[in-house]
């Protein structure tokens, strides 16, 4: 079982991430599966009863298309094909702030320590750190900064509404 970071701790992952090629059979026979979004779109009616269920989005898939189905998912995983692709920073904020999603938002793909501080600010609460990197080390990045200027998911007010002289 793989170790992941969840709620600022390293834990054993209970979920199984299915690849983009996974079919309906595999999705139905895997417990606690995180399924590709395309599979969900194709077989929504058969998958609706599966609980718990997770889904993952490619970096070019828009959260708007998932918004109405969020209640079916305990986990929304957002894939970073390369760590320099920042699209899902916006996706996470939209899931939390616009669609009020309260389940797990997990970063998957090319995820390493130095993105974590920003990710957590955007609403991620779970990180599948790249297999060749140590998740325990990565925890340290969550406290890289002690002060932040902007409002985001972790801090609903910008600094200018919090500053005391």
């Amino acid at each position: 079982m793989r170790a992941i970071i969840k709620n600022d701790q390293v834990i054993d992952d209970q979920w199984t991430l299915l690849s983009a090629e996974a079919d309906l059979d595999e999705a139905l026979r895997t417990e606690q599966a995180i399924i590709p979004f395309a599979l969900w779109q194709e077989h929504k009616s058969q998958l609706q009863a599966v609980k718990p269920l997770g889904v993952w989005l490619e970096s070019n898939q828009a959260v708007e298309d998932l918004a109405e189905d969020l209640a079916y998912f305990s986990v929304v995983a957002l894939n970073f094909p390369v760590f320099t692709d920042g699209r899902h920073f916006s996706s996470a904020r939209l899931l939390r702030e616009r669609y009020a999603y309260t389940g797990e938002i997990r970063a998957i793909g090319d995820v390493a320590r130095d993105q974590l501080f920003f990710m957590q600010r955007c609403g991620f609460d779970a990180y599948a750190i790249r297999a060749d990197r140590c998740p325990v080390d990565a925890l340290q990045s969550l406290t890289d900064f002690s002060v932040t200027y902007q409002a985001a998911y972790d801090q609903s007010l910008p600094l200018y509404r919090r500053r005391t002289a």
């Binding site: 920042g86 699209r87 904020r93 993105q115 501080f117 902007q150 409002a151 509404r161």
Partner: protein, 552 residues
């Protein structure tokens, strides 16, 4: 100028700690070259031809004398005793050792400076008018807004990995010295008919490979909503800007592909969600920031027109300097003085540690301890008493800052080019120097008059060649360096992009090419025309004929 409080200071100190650890991990092999790259880039650290280059942020160009002294100190201790002013009003060091950079950042943090987001695919240093707060034609001081944008954009968690770099400029003047039309976002502070403050928003301008003038997507965003509106633009760009091709990744490509109208609609949809939320700016915050930009303790003086005219008559050199390097000030009896960093034989924008210390002293003595960097790569003392201009001129001459060439042909904007930059196709500094040498006769330079000559060593266009009246671009042809010339670019209001003259030239031909272009102008001009006016009237053909005729 803006003074950090504990919050601001904490952020730069946290950054030093973070970067020290990232650098440690890199040297320990825990971070690969590829992983370390964007981390160091977002701290302004490039690995260049000879050594890493460190770009230090100078937010909207403003520097205090104690910061200048620190910079001088750093160049002595960690570099080769000089620094370079960039076209984004930042300061660049060309020779720091990678392992020393965390220590340099720590020293910078001690004077409220940093290198945050001076490079990489993120929101870069916001720039503005070098005469902000003192210009006679200013209606709104842009500096508080620049600072508000600086804070919003510093480590913005959502926009840390944009498709490409992102540059914002703010103007609040009748004239536009901030070149807002060629920025990813250009903001013009304006009052509406009801007298309320807001911003006209231009998007998708830029130079580089695909030069384009920005489009207005909103005529008036009330000041309370500035950050919400910017956040909406950035979110649309972050989500939908192209990431498959580095050369198509700037926001201008997205705006063009969608059309400005559709892009504006997307932004409006996003804004509908953010508007009136916590991101709305408060009166208290604007006041808090604005307090840092109030007038210094000006004396009640009167303009010294007669006295200065008398000095002009006696000292032609002073008159020349005053006509080019000194501009009017909103406060009677004061003037803003540009220190030329374009002396022939010195790389444009370079300044030695001794000069930095000297400028700090002059700032203390003559200009309320403040200095500004300009995007033309000069420096400004913005609040000089007119009655002290003459003595200041004498000191400036002694230290090599009094070349009376601001806005003239030899005030060349020039990137570091192939001598330093790993991206460059060709050298730029030697070309600038050869042209400066050709045109070193002051009488002739004055006769030629206002002329922007800009040189970039590659099409990334750091030397802003597209908006030079004469633009020079270094190109690589089968491993050899050549130079392409364009005419008719201009920044400011009604910005325009230069048109390519024709086939490119070898480096040693460049002074002759420029001479011929100037000859055509001199022959064709009417009395009141500057180079750009003559070009606009007669077009490119006469210039083309002259330059290429003699090549046969």
């Amino acid at each position: 100028m803006y003074i950090y409080d504990n919050y601001d200071q904490q952020i730069v100190e946290d950054r030093v700690r973070q970067f020290r650890d990232q650098t440690r991990r890199y040297f320990a092999g825990e971070l690969t070259e590829d992983e370390y790259l964007p981390l160091r880039l977002q701290n302004g650290l490039y690995v260049q031809r000879h050594a890493p280059m460190l770009r230090i942020a100078v937010p909207y160009g403003l520097l205090a004398s104690r910061q200048l002294r620190k910079l001088a100190d750093i160049t002595r201790k960690y570099d080769k005793g000089y620094a370079h002013i960039t076209t984004r009003t930042n300061v660049q060091l060309n020779w720091p050792a990678l392992e020393n950079v965390p220590d340099i950042l720590e020293e910078l943090a001690s004077v409220q400076m940093h290198a945050i987001q001076t490079s990489g695919n993120c929101i870069r240093n916001t720039t503005t008018d070098q005469f902000a707060g003192v210009a006679r034609d200013e209606s709104i001081d842009p500096r508080p807004w620049c600072e508000i944008i600086r804070q919003w954009s510093t480590f913005h968690p959502e926009f840390a990995r944009l498709p490409r770099k992102f540059k914002i400029a703010v103007n609040g003047c009748a004239s536009d010295r901030a070149a807002i039309e060629v920025h990813d976002i250009g903001l013009e502070a304006v009052h509406n008919d009801a007298g309320e403050l807001g911003f006209r928003v231009l998007v998708g301008g830029g130079l580089g490979r695909t030069p384009i003038v920005g489009s207005c997507i909103n005529e008036f965003v009330p000041w309370q909503h500035l950050l919400g509106y910017l956040e909406s633009i950035l979110r649309v760009y972050n989500r939908f800007g192209r990431r498959d091709n580095k050369f198509k990744a700037r926001i201008k490509i997205l705006v063009k592909a969608l059309t400005p109208t559709v892009f504006a609609e997307r932004v409006a949809e996003e804004w509908a969600h953010l508007k009136d939320g916590p991101i709305t700016l408060t009166e208290a915050e604007v006041q808090r920031v604005s307090k840092h930009f109030t007038d210094p303790a000006y004396l009640e003086l009167s303009d010294q027109d007669q006295e200065l005219a008398a000095l002009d008559a006696e000292h032609p050199g002073f008159a020349r300097w005053r006509s080019r390097n000194v501009v009017a000030h909103k406060k009677p009896g004061y003037a803003a003085v540009t220190l030329s960093l374009k002396k022939t034989g010195i790389a444009p924008g370079d300044v030695t540690e001794k000069q930095l210390d000297k400028i700090a002293d002059l700032a203390d003595q003559y200009s309320f301890s403040e200095v500004r960097n300009t995007h033309e790569q000069n420096m400004v003392l913005a609040d000089v008493e007119q009655r002290k201009l003459f003595e200041l001129w004498e000191v400036l001459r002694e230290h090599g800052f009094a070349t009376p060439n601001i806005g003239l042909l030899s005030d060349i904007i020039c990137c570091p080019g192939g001598d330093f930059c790993a991206l460059a196709n060709a050298k730029s500094i030697p070309v600038a120097e050869a042209i400066q040498e050709r045109f070193d006769n002051l009488d002739y330079l004055f006769d030629i008059g206002d002329l922007d000559l800009n040189i970039s060593g590659c099409m990334n266009a750091c030397g802003h060649h597209h908006i030079g009246h004469i633009g020079i671009l270094g190109v690589d042809k089968k491993g050899e360096e050549f130079y392409q010339v364009s005419l008719g670019g201009s920044s400011g209001r009604e910005a325009s992009l230069g048109k390519i003259l024709g086939p490119s030239f070898a480096q040693d031909a460049m002074p002759d090419v420029i001479s011929k272009l100037i000859d055509v102008y001199i022959e064709q001009r009417t009395e009141e025309e500057h180079f750009i006016d003559t070009y606009k009237r007669i077009g490119i053909d006469k210039f083309k004929e002259r330059v290429y005729a003699s090549n046969n």
